[in-house]
Symmetry: C2
Subunit: 146 residues, 2 copies
């Protein structure tokens, strides 16, 4: 798999490092080169300093041949825009936006963007650990089947 | 269940709101009263403005009769300290620290603190969504069985 991970915060670094360890080709983009220090030791992918929604930057990362784009910056709206660019302009088969705000996650899903709501995931995990009876969710807000 | 949620960021607000909706008694502590705006509409628990590791604040939240403490501030170390205080000084049956740094999560688990690594959860979820072969994990770093 050829994947582009946008945003090298903790989540982005984690997913990029794991994909690399799994033998996949990964390019990580962050606007701050210091962020790449979060990548696991032995990270074998490429890093690019640039902005999440800069088309030239995405092109230089090879988005035209990417199998997946993972948008994991700190900004929910940037992640949405990056995922939409990937899907609509570059026809990347999979584009997933990490979203912190569960309300935004639902709205984004309605716009046809695959989202992963970290807040929902954490809520679900606390619930499993404490085993109380709260509302169920699978953490991922998939867009409706088309 | 009588639970104290420390930190009303997105994760704290999510878990507090869900517990309240599930019919449990919840007290939420945050040092910034504006954080309580994140709680779900109709939130039925109590809110206290105070610090995560202020013993007087924890006492006024009723920690001595709490069944669970969930430490979900933005600071990994604050969450560890709050969870340790709850377990060791107040003998709260369950104390879980949300931890962003996966390395810290493992260290904290070795110290006998139940942790929930949001970064690991997000990594796992991306992996499931993209179905590549990475290292497996359940997201929660439980302390070793004693």
């Amino acid at each position: 798999m050829y994947a582009i991970v946008i945003g090298c915060g903790r989540a982005g670094a984690e997913v990029a490092s794991r994909m690399c360890a799994g033998g996949h080709s990964v390019v990580v983009i962050d606007r701050d080169k210091r962020a790449f220090a979060r990548l696991a030791e032995g990270f074998c992918g490429a890093t690019i300093v640039g902005h999440a929604i800069d088309v030239d930057c995405l092109r230089s990362a090879g988005i035209e041949r990417a199998d997946a784009v993972i948008a994991a910056t700190y900004g929910d709206n940037s992640n949405l825009t990056a995922a939409q660019l990937a899907r609509q302009q570059f026809e990347v088969p999979r584009a997933i936006a990490r979203v912190k705000d569960p309300v935004r996650a639902r709205v984004f899903a309605q716009l046809g963007i695959e989202t992963l709501s970290s807040t929902t995931l954490v809520g679900d995990a606390f619930e499993r650990m404490l085993q109380w009876n709260g509302p169920a969710s699978n953490g991922a807000d998939a867009p409706p089947e088309t």
